[in-house]
Amino acid sequence: MSSTLTIALPKGRLLTRIITCFKEAGIQVAFAERELVCLDKKNKLKFLLVKNNDLTTYVHHGIAGLGICGEDRIIESGYRFYKLHEFPFGSTRICLAGCPSVEGEKEEPRLKVATKFPRFTQNFFLKRGIPVEMIKLEGSVELAPVLGLAPYIVDLVETGSTLKAHGLEILEELADIKVVLISNPAYYKLEYQDIDHLVHKLGKQP
């Protein structure tokens, strides 16, 4: 390997599993307390710890040439990336959910949906020719139908237990979401040998 690759990692629930995954591939990711940058000198890798919502922005601008995030972030960013590797954890689904009693209202000419994913939601329903009114929320989306903000939500669903706890159910699965290694396309074109080597290492894990 000839140059140091820069990889953005997301803070939060995925981080521990990503670090384990790298460890199994012989790559050391160890952030000192309060540090947001660390180096694996042996493998010539530099890691940046960034907020999940900002990760695609860092990679898009080439500040980090590579990054690891859920495909939901890629869709929502609207940017173009190369997806180089799918990780065997963190898979989830983007679903349309609502109270069981409102399912019939899906036939109404205009859907009112609360979501953290307005770009995905807009594209999905417009492709089907269904006009959609969106209410952008930053979190606890499942509260929207409960409190009467919107009858439907579009959100990530892992087990469905949070939905169930709020009296909601999945009305339709809209997309599968994987955790992936992404690259800025221009960065890949210059560093393809080193990146392919890294992808090969990650792919060899049990």
Binding site: H60, H61, P185, A186, K189
Partner: protein, 375 residues
Amino acid sequence: MPREKKKLLHIPQGTEGFYLEEAFVHRRLRETLLDLFHLWGYLPVQTPVFDFFDTYRNLLDAEATEKIYRLIDREGDLLMLRSDNTLFMAKQMGLALTWEDLPVRVCYADSILRHQDREDISHNEFFQVGAELIGKDGLNGDLEVLMLMMATIRHLRLPQAVLHLGSHAFYTACFAAGRLSVADQQRVYTAIYNRAFPTAAEILKAAGYNGEEIRLMSRLFGFIGTIAEFSVLEKEAVGTKLLSSACREALAYLAEVGAQLKRLEVESRVRIDLSEIGGQPYYTGLVFQVYMPGMDTAVASGGRYNRLLGFFGFDAPSCGFSLLLRKVQEKIGSPERFKPEHGGVNIRKKDFVAAYREAEELRAAGRIVTLQDLK
């Protein structure tokens, strides 16, 4: 902050202004590049800032259409601002040229106006310089454009720039005839452009391609390597007999371009990259992009577009390139070459006429002279 001041600070996305030394450097860069193009026999073309949208509607893909600025003139016609110099140049040349004029060499250095998202302003895609060789088909035409682009990069002293060469013709030969629907061709195109080879493989499998064919396609379109590495792959691929004669010809052509670039001793900065299939819908043959460390997108791009001028009534084969000058301006080597000369003369006299006369004598001798007030 006063409301008026706030208004002044608000700048529309996709525009920029620059001034003083930065503007001087930009102007000098622009001039020296046009001088370089002139040494190769290229003459400038000035395209209009806006034109009728309908003229270009069928040449713009969804992404390009989304980014252009449109406006309505007093007669109610829909206009578009110049978002790509090649498109506007093609219309002008298509209308103005006759067969006797060919080949024609034109160049430009002009601003482009297209929307950039708020997060995208660092792209600096505001100004294109480029050259187009109209009416010359084949290897020598492609090589001339490639070497002129290399000369441009050399002039700007961008030694880390790497040229990635691909072929739209190879993609067309593989997929445009027969087995894929038009919608699937578009999906495969997008998958290859995004190097999403598992997605491409799924589409091909559903369309009846067998495993051996899919593996070969993934390997070929996934290839990036040196000219020597490509030469090995090309021989191997042709040997499998899975490729049509048109596919083999497209690969052989690319290998020949590579061989000539090797003879021209520029191969160390060249990669053959079959996932380069052209970022604009009008390309037909050789396509290329230039990448540089620290840059978030390609800084230059181009290729052969043999049918674009035909769209405007003059079906002449053409090839060209453009470079995003504002994008590379911060990266040029030895930038002091383009900066204003310091050490000019300041004349301080109470009598303006005397000061003016002295200054004129010095200016006639090539000195930079500034008139200053006597304090």
